[in-house]
Amino acid sequence: MTSNGAHQGPHTAADIPEWPVAATAAGRRLSDGPVELIISWLLRIGVWSSIAIIVFGLVLLVIKDRQALVHTQPGGLDGLLKHGLPGQPGTLSSYGDVLLSVRRGDAFGVIMLGLMVLLLTPVMRVAVSIIAFLLDHDRLYALITLVVLGLLMTGVLLGKAGG
């Protein structure tokens, strides 16, 4: 995509004749490789699906627990977070708990499901980047990204074991 670093010093794209294509006004190049597009697309899907699920959960919460939501409770926000709401489950701290809660139709479970989609988005981004680099015939970066994924998974597994 980019040159091999043969150009130095201050210059604009116009100074480099072999530059693939001129920049468009939108800041995108026509020569966009698949990598940027795939990563950007994956991030957008992760972000929008998580926001949709969380908003759905919040709407569900307002519908189900309308009474509890508009009445002031003692203890401020911290008390509210610690005691939860009458119609909702307590702490959800495993994937199994969250899925069970979603099946019961709890608003909290739905919100947590959306948060889980959000938390997994960066991991998915790294995993999908490997495929994207391979599609772009960029083995070096596919390898670099594979190592990053390995380190990331090691961290996740160690965290689970230790935490």
Binding site: T2, S3, W19, I39, S40, L115, V126, G159, G163
Partner: protein
Amino acid sequence: MSPLAYIAIVLLISIAAGLLGSLLGLGGGIIVIPALTIFLGVDIRLAIGASIVSVIATSSGAAAAYVRDHLSNIRVGMFLELATTTGALTGAFLAGVLAGRWLYLIFAVVLGYSALAMFRKRHDESGAGFEPDDISKRLRLASSYYDQAIDREVVYQVTGARTGLALMYVAGAVSGLLGIGSGALKVPAMDLAMRLPIKVSTATSNFMIGVTAAASASVYFARGQINPLLAGPVAVGVLIGASAGSRLLGQLHSTTIRKAFFVVLIVITFEMLLKGIQY
């Protein structure tokens, strides 16, 4: 106040955090944590859980746009993630071995130094006028982006790949140890050592911080620190703020971003000094 009013306040705080975070390559923890703990009296454990959610939301929300617009340099990001993930692992192992007080104080000194160094070169545009190093050449780190503020394509070189990698290792270790500072250290490392243009530095930091945070997110989730009533509105607010911010970055002048980053670095420096002293 009623629970609904709290949800609305948390949403507003988070929009601000997402906006600032997406522009400066930070996770928004510097806004979310103090606002929740000091002003709303939330337990620090739940505030940290919300902050991790905020980092991932800022990163994913902003990077979706920055990657498409070539503001994030994904090669630089992927290459440096080798060091940040290794650093985060080291940090997780070292946690408990090193004294927190000294970590905060060292972190404050590093940030203070970075702030001054970045302030000194506030009128300087990076990315040109130097030789790229051998690793940057071999990894094809040089790239270009379209700068809306000056209405032209900016072609830039990259150097100092080794120093950048070492600094990212430290940044990863610090965030593994203290759960903070991933963006505040990443941006100066790319700016000062690798001499990337400031917009590319903040956009690439945004691209990277989600991955650094994802490693620890599963731990906070398993410990029950992710509360749906708090983290849900935080995620929604930050995503709204970050998508607005990601439209703004291209139009802002580099010097404006540099100055804003300088101010935020000074604030974090004092915050860390205070934590170190009180520890």
